[in-house]
């Protein structure tokens, strides 16, 4: 089994999209958590810091995972590493 340039490119793109999404995950979790008191000063649908931790961040998590699955599925096809159709 020999990896081609194309395979390496696929893996690099995977690493890139993974890092971007993980940075987003880090920001909505830890950065927003750190500044929760400051964010609470802003009032959109209740105090923003509270709202984000109770609901907003969760919605972003679901979106991150959906986007990753969607993106990688297309990338698999584009780089010819996708599996045979199962359904």
């Amino acid at each position: 089994m020999q990896l081609t340039e194309k395979h390496k490119q696929y893996w690099n793109i995977n690493l890139k999209i993974s890092s971007v999404l993980l940075v987003l995950w880090f920001v909505v979790t830890f950065v927003m958590g750190w500044f929760a008191r400051e964010l609470n000063e802003i009032n959109i649908i209740g105090p923003l810091g509270f709202y984000m931790s109770a609901q907003g961040s969760l919605i972003i998590y679901v979106a991150i995972i959906w986007y990753y699955a969607h993106y990688m599925n297309n990338l698999d096809k584009e780089y010819g590493v996708h599996e045979g159709e199962l359904d």
Partner: protein, 701 residues
């Protein structure tokens, strides 16, 4: 499996579970009719308990199997949507179902660490682990460690870690099962534990992962329906909007905030009444403090003098011209209840001193890291401590999520890598449905208490309050402290679990919905316990017995060993649970910290760092587990060592130190020894690509 059968299979499943959901709704309606006909609620509780357990047993029986692939990984044909539901049920435990909303009610913003920690971890699962583990295939998490790092030792440490964290966690689940069955049927706690255990075993015993998967899907449907109905109803009752996740923030939260300010402002009528109760608590606390000081100074002599004072008071009352019978009775009772010796007195007075806490002002629900302190510097210090612990707990819970073997195992059961990725999405989506409802429920329940219960008269308390205060004082404790006949907030003590349990009654729903909530809580606890017990039994039978002791064992023998071990582990867990060890929340937190420190570094490095090798894995896993266990042992009060905390981090977040230690171990161990063999590097490439030409095959089946 050909394309047509898999999609037909998925279509059939959708049909079965639609019928099932319809059937369940019909069942609830029938029980509702029985209630209207006057069947006592205790009987209804039994009907719910036994009907649902029989249902799970039925599914378990229909899924019985003698095939290794079906027993360990449900034949790898669980479609993403259903694997998502099974993950949801596997994931959401009694603590999530019953406890979460209560924790949020009691601690406001700071409780959100659990909401964030138990959802955000799935981002790590989705991006760092699930697709790669699915490509690797095989049966257990130690399987991956064994193949990736070579040799028996990494697999063995994996087995130890899997057993330690799953066993800790399963005890918390069986505890939940015991509480629910005993509360809704009146059985003894210990009996409840074993009844629940029977429910767990009938699912997993015959059909392993296959049976557990299909039961968990059924359990998810019950638990989500049971959680949503009362909350939606409550939302309509209070705000007229049927979407609690919106109404709580737009309508209830601003009113709560306004009431909190009023309660804390002595100038307002409500604030003044609260202050009168708080003053009593402060006095009582101060009196107890004085008595404790007296006891410390004079010992038994002080105790005798105190008792004499009370006896004299009784005599004085009796000697009055017109003796007041009630007052005499009360005074005699104080003499009777007087602590017998110095130790008892110390205990009683220390507890009494603690009521001072009830004199504290109301904490604003949405305020983050609200802490007390005498000076601005002290407040600042306490606040930074609270903030640090909040974030550390989130980190441990999230990374623990991405390392708990019973969850990761679920991704072996999907038909493909793509389906594994999609199933993480469905999994988190189904979990999210409950987790973004819990904070809304906490707000709506708080609104009910602040606006309707507070200010009502003790003569006509709402029915749910008087019912629950009779059933269990630790859940609902209410007393007219300042004797004005009106309820003040400071006069109410609520136990967290009450919120979910009492919501149907608060919303004015019939008892059948309470039974449904109990069935939902039971489903949550049973489904998690199922997954955990199977993980433990598989780690022992597959990894320890088959892979390390007797690799030539026949299929029949392997399954027999696995089932035997399942039984033994389940009985051990039930026995340990019936001894009622420690604090549930700590057990859960400990399981997460242990899993995070033991597995996460080795698993992630195994996929993303080709250089990681045998020595790295061994060092990393033992350093992670060791550090985490050491910190918990030395700092958690239960063990009695009480060493000073490191950087003020609470013992529940021991993973904060275990995880970096684990990564450090993997890196150092790998760099000081030779790089892994060509075969292992090929294995890493194999897991990284969903499909490679000329690929090796690592699947067991």
């Amino acid at each position: 499996m050909s394309a047509i059968t898999q999609s037909q299979f998925a279509a059939n499943l959708k049909r079965y579970y639609s019928f099932y959901t319809g059937g369940f709704v019909a069942f609830v309606i029938v029980v509702g009719i029985l209630e209207q006909l006057g069947v006592p609620s205790k009987i209804l509780g039994y009907i719910f308990l036994f009907a649902t357990i029989m249902l799970y047993a039925g599914i378990g029986f229909m899924s019985k199997t003698a095939d290794v692939g079906e027993y360990y990984v449900a034949g790898r044909r669980v479609p993403a949507l259903f694997n998502g539901m099974a993950t949801g049920a596997d994931w959401m435990s009694a603590a999530s179902f019953i406890g979460m909303a209560g924790t949020l009610y009691l601690s406001g913003y700071d409780g959100l660490a659990f909401v964030l920690g138990w959802t955000g971890g799935y981002c790590l699962v989705a991006i760092l682990l699930a697709p790669y583990l699915r490509k690797f295939g095989q049966f257990t998490i130690p399987d991956f460690l064994g193949a990736r790092f070579g040799g028996h030792l990494p697999r063995f440490i994996g087995v130890i870690a899997a057993i330690t964290c799953s066993f800790t966690y399963v005890i918390a689940q069986i505890y939940g099962v015991g509480i629910i069955t005993s509360r809704f049927t009146g059985l003894e706690f210990q009996v409840g534990v074993f009844v629940g255990l029977a429910g767990i075993l009938v699912c997993s015993f015959l059909g392993g992962m296959k049976a557990v998967t299909w039961t968990q899907v059924a359990q998810y449907i019950i638990l989500i329906v049971a959680y949503m109905i009362p909350v939606v109803w409550l939302s309509v009752k209070h705000t007229g909007i049927p979407i609690p996740q919106i109404s709580a923030y737009t309508s209830a939260l601003p009113k709560i905030t306004a009431l909190e300010t009023e309660f804390n402002d002595k100038a307002t009528p409500k604030g003044a009444k609260e202050e009168s109760v708080r003053a009593i608590f402060r006095e009582r606390s101060a009196a107890a403090t004085a008595k404790l000081a007296g006891l410390e100074k004079d010992g038994p002599a002080f105790l005798a003098a105190e008792k004499q004072k009370l006896t004299d008071k009784v005599a004085a009352l009796k000697a009055e011209a017109t003796p007041d019978a009630k007052a005499i009775e009360a005074a005699e009772k104080t003499v009777k209840d007087f602590p017998a010796d110095a130790a008892a007195a110390k205990k009683a007075w220390t507890a009494e001193k603690g009521v001072g806490a009830r004199a504290a002002p109301v904490k604003a629900h949405a305020e983050a890291f609200a802490v007390g302190g005498k000076t601005p510097e002290e407040i600042e210090k306490n606040r930074s401590k609270a903030k640090k612990n909040f974030l550390a707990l989130i980190a441990c819970l999230m990374i623990g999520t991405a390392a708990l073997p019973h969850i990761l195992m679920r991704y072996y059961t999907t038909p493909s890598v793509h389906e594994a990725r999609v199933s993480v999405f469905w999994g988190l989506f189904f979990i999210f449905l409950l987790y973004f409802t819990a904070p809304a429920l906490a707000i709506l329940a708080k609104y009910e208490v602040y606006s309707n219960l507070v200010g009502s008269s003790f003569a006509s308390l709402p029915a749910w309050v008087s019912n629950w205060s009779v059933v269990d004082k630790s859940l609902m404790n209410i007393a007219d402290i300042n004797k004005d006949g009106i309820v003040q907030l400071a006069e109410i003590v609520i136990g967290g679990d009450l919120i979910v349990l009492a919501t149907p009654e608060i919303a004015g729903l019939p008892y059948v919905i309470s039974g449904l909530v109990a069935a939902g809580g039971l489903a949550a606890a049973l489904s998690t316990a199922d997954g955990l017990l199977l993980t433990i039994a598989n780690a022992m039978s597959h990894d320890l017995y088959y892979k390390m002791i007797d690799p030539n064992a026949s299929t029949v023998r392997r399954l027999a060993v696995s089932k035997g071990l399942l039984l033994v582990v389940a009985l051990c867990a039930a026995y340990v649970t019936s001894l009622k060890p420690g604090d549930i929340l700590f057990l859960v937190g400990a399981a997460f910290s242990l899993a995070a420190s033991g597995f996460f570094p080795a698993l992630v490095c195994g996929v993303f760092w080709k250089r990681a090798n045998y020595l790295g894995a061994v060092l990393g896993m033992s350093a992670g587990l060791g550090t985490c266990a050491y910190y918990m042992y030395t700092t958690y009060p239960f063990f009695g060592v009480n060493a000073p905390l490191w950087w003020d981090i609470a013992p529940i977040s021991a993973g904060t130190f275990g995880i970096p230690a684990g990564f450090l171990g993997v890196i150092i161990g790998s760099l000081i020894s030779a790089e892994p063999s060509k075969e292992i590097q090929e294995l890493v490439d194999h897991v990284r690509y969903p499909n490679l030409e000329g690929d090796i095959d690592t699947k067991g089946i």
